[in-house]
Structure formats: C-alpha cells, structure tokens
Amino acid sequence: MVDRLREWVPRLVLAPSFLLILVFVYGFILYSGYLSMTNSRMLPSNDWIGVANYVKLFKLKHWNTALINLGLFGFLYIAISSCLGLLLAILLDQKIRAEGVLRPIFLYPMALSFIVTGTAWKWFLDPGIGIEATMHAWGWESFQFNWIKDRSMAIYTVVIAAVWQSSGFVMAMFLAGLRGVDTEILKAAEMEGASKFRIYRKIVIPMMRPVFLSAFVVLAHLAIKAYDLVIALTGGGPGRATELPATFMYSYTFTRNQMGVGASSAIIMLVMIFSIIIPYLYSEMKSGDSK
C-alpha cells in the first residue's frame, strides 16, 4: 500500500506542472485553433466561418513579407549568433587575461530588454544622428550606413541588434562546452602537429554538436518571440519591410480588430515552429537516451 503510493509520488509531483502546461499551452493552442475558424474581431466570438481566415491570410501581402522575413531573420540570426558566439568563446578560451572583464561585457545585453535598448539601437543605427553622423563629424565623410532606413536592408539591422543581444549568451554556452572538452584529445591533436586552427575546425567544433543544438533551441525560441525588438527598432518599418509573424499576429489580433485572422496566423506560425522543433527534440532525446 505504502509502496504503491511511492510509485505514484513522482507522477503526482509532475502532475501540477503537466496540467498547467496542458491547459495553458496546449489548451490555449487549441483555443486559438478554434478562434482562427471564427469571425472573431475585437473579442472572441463563436461565429464559425471555417477556413475563411486562412484564405484571407494568405492573400495578405504582409503575411508573406512576414514569413519571408522570419525565414531570413531567423536563419541569419541563428547562424550569425552561433558563429559569433563560437568565435568569441574560442577567442576567450585562449587564456585571455581579461576574461573576467570581457565575459560580462559580452553577456550583459541578454540582461536588458529591448524596451530598454531599442531606442539606443535606433539612434545608433540612424544615419542622421548615429554612427554615420558621428563618422561624418569625425571626418570620414564617405562613410555610409543607412540600412535602417532602407526597405531592403532594414531587416538586417534587426539581425544586428538581435545578434548583439543574444550572441553573448551563446558565447557562454560554447565557452562551457569548450572547457568541457577532454584535454587529452587536444594534446593528442597537438602532438600530431595539427595547427590550432585545424584543431578547432576538425576536432573541437565538431565536438560542439550538442552545444550547437542547445544554442539552436534558445535562439529559435528567441527568434520566434522577437516582438519587442522589431517594435522598438523599426516599428515594422520602413513601410512594412520588417514585419515578422509575431508583430503581424499582434497587430491583427489587437490593433486591427481582426482576431480571427490573427489567430490563424498564430496557428500557421505554430505549425511551422513545431515542424522544425519537434524533429530536433526527437533526435536530441534519442541520442540522449542511447548515451
């Protein structure tokens, strides 16, 4: 009797979390799915209209822009953050004396929210008052950097700021990974005469595979939620050039009073996210179990 209970205790302990998630995540996803099939405008309604919202959604030019932007932004952001994080970690791992000072410098942006830093970045990137103007003032007249004002380049400024914010975190993850590499392996490679560059390229970096995967999870989750960033930096502009699904969803649901369309965009976005994340998680847990 007591031992039966013992068997159930773990499940009981997990149950609250599981129930919370079940309701507050999966329940809400279902609810959104339902909303996306209704004619909800300002507040949820029960007016069933089938897939009309989805049809409407895919006719909207912004939605396509948002999707393309997410692809572009997500890819660049994840790729650059990972590479930069790795590079910084490698540089910092060279027995750098000032590591204690540099590490928090690289790490601190993660501590700030974009409500906070958005304005600073906006100014900094603004050609009229930011870096370009400063360079001009310092005598470098031909310096030009006006991406934030350029419809085709603005999305890259979002990438720059986003990378700024999270690459330090990725750096910390890689640093931890590097410090965990068996030193005997490094010695072995050194004995074979491999240059440092080659040791990293051929041995250390391939060994960082699990870290790349973890970084991917963290970065992907940040990319998906990149809302504050865009709002603070470009407000989705110039024009709607930097619209992302998150801003799209928010504006349709809350400022344009087309909650149905907003919900359908959320569902599409979730489908996309899950179709990328679930295979990843699956493979991750597979390899984790076999260890």
């Binding site: 302990v13 930011g130 931890a176 504050d228 649901t253 809350f254 976005m269 998680l281």
Partner: protein
C-alpha cells in the same frame, strides 16, 4: 578544463596572433558596449544638448538630474512618482515567480531523470515544446482564466503566468543537470530509507547550486524584462517596472525627455545587469555543469 587548446601557446605562440586576438576581442567589446555607452552618456546630458544632436558625443555639461527624475519624480501616469514604487511591484512579482518556477523545474527534472515512468519522454517533450509558444496567442484565453481564478489584475496572477511559461526552460535545465547527477546517490539514499522528498531536499538540492544559478539568472532576466504580460494582466496596484518604464518612454503625444528615458532604462535594467555581472562566472560554470544542453 583548466587546460585550453592554447596550452603551449606561450611556447610556440606567436605574438602577432595574440595581439590579433586581443584586438578582435576589444573590437567586439566595443560592439557590445556601444548601445550602453549611448544610453549612459545621454542620460547625463541635459535635454537641450540631446536635441542639439551628437548622440555619440560626451556631455558638455554633466548632470544627474535625469537619474533623480527617473527614479523618484518622473511622471508615470498621473502621479510624479518616478520608477521607485514599481520597483517594489516587480520584486514582488519576480521573486516568487522565479522561485516557484525554478523549484517546480527542479522537481520536474528530478522526476524525469531519477524516477522515470512510462511516458516520461512525452511529458518532457510537451514541457519543452511549451518554450516555443508565442506569448501573443495566450493573452486572451489567459485573461479569461485569470478572471475565473479571480486572479485578474493581481500580482499573484502575474506570478502564475510567469511560472507557467517558465516551466519549460527550468525543467529543461534541471533535467539536463540531473541527468548527469549520479543515480547511485539516489539509490543509496533510498536504501538509507529517505523518502522521495527527503532525497530531493537532502541529496539533490544541496548539490544543485550551479544549475540553480543558471536557471535563476535565466528566469529572473526573462520575467523582469517582460512587458506583454505585465501590461495585460496587471492592475493599477501591481504594475511592474517594465510597464512603468514603457509609460515613461513611450508616451505618444507628449514631450520626450530622452535623458530621463535612458536613465530610467538603465535603472530598470539594473537588477538584471547586476545579477549577470555578479554571477557571470558561476553562470558559465553552471552551464558547464548542465552539460550545456540547454
């Protein structure tokens, strides 16, 4: 771990290369510091000087007025209270939410690694997927539920929201950490007759410091910086710091006091900044201990 690839670079390393490494590190440091630089120097300028342009220049006239204003007398709504009172609100919200979500995450990680049961993988997968849900879609149904629970507009409600949406990551962190935690210790304690909770409290918890650091930093940062939930679910007496900061910074048709905005921004970010700087070292260690899976 104490030996890096550069073990013998002192012998064979090349001064040029080291100079290059330092140079690039410093360049990157500048990239990371620039926005902070812009914020800090402009927060010390009088407003006229900012209007005059030259965002990157040092103040001609230093003043800390904007800091004082932002902290204690800036207009946040009708009352010129500054950010001060909202600081308390944020603390009241962040501390329990961080503790709760971390604690639940620790328990979940404990169960998912040391007390596996059929289907534990699926449960974990579901918890993990929850990390990726965009918060915009949960606002309305969450509001409804908070209303039903009679938690609408309360700090307790915010704590609940943040706890729920932090669970995915905290569980992930602790699972990875406890996965590497020697199972034999748990077995040994079982034989010693310790109960499920005794084992957790006496054996696991005292040895989880590194991962607690990581998790608490992560949760603290995310919750402290949240705006969306704060704006949507807070009442007049539970408005968190970020919403207040937003009120200070984002007024639509009023005069914009950038120096105050920047000072306020830095003030609002101070707790997280301090947490990062003070515990940065432990953070990397914690990530290592968590076998950097998460």
């Amino acid at each position: 771990m104490n030996q890096s690839v550069s073990a013998s670079s002192a012998t064979h390393g090349n001064r040029m290369i080291r100079a290059l490494i330092y140079a690039s590190l410093i360049l990157f440091a500048i990239y990371y510091l620039l926005p902070l630089y812009v914020m800090v120097i402009n927060s010390f300028k009088p407003l006229e000087e900012i209007r005059g342009g030259g965002m990157m220049n040092l103040p001609q006239q230093w003043t800390i007025d904007s800091w004082l204003t932002a902290w204690s007398s800036a207009q946040i709504g009708v009352k010129p209270t500054g950010l001060k009172p909202f600081f308390i609100n944020s603390i009241l919200m962040v501390v329990p939410a961080v503790l709760l979500s971390t604690f639940l995450g620790a328990l979940n990680g404990y169960v998912l690694t040391k007390w596996k049961f059929r289907g534990h993988g699926i449960v974990f997968g579901m918890l993990l997927l929850a990390c990726f849900i965009p918060f915009q879609i949960v606002l309305i149904p969450m509001a409804r539920i908070l209303g039903i629970l009679d938690l609408a507009g309360t700090t307790a409600g915010l704590v609940l929201v943040h706890t729920v949406y932090g669970l995915g990551f905290t569980t992930l962190f602790f699972r990875n950490y406890y996965d590497a935690f020697p199972t034999e210790l748990v077995r040994s304690a079982q034989i010693d007759g310790a109960s499920f909770f005794q084992i957790f409290r006496r054996i696991l918890l005292p040895n989880s410091a590194p991962i607690f650091v990581v998790t608490i930093i992560w949760q603290f940062t995310n919750i402290w910086n949240d705006f969306l939930f704060g704006a949507s679910f807070a009442d007049f007496d539970s408005i968190p710091m970020t919403v207040a900061l937003n009120n200070l910074v984002n007024s639509s048709t009023g005069v914009k006091e950038y120096n105050v905005h920047f000072a306020g921004s830095i003030l609002a970010a101070l707790p997280t900044l301090i947490v990062y700087i003070v515990s940065g070292r432990y953070f990397v260690r914690g990530l290592m201990a968590g076998s950097v899976k998460g």
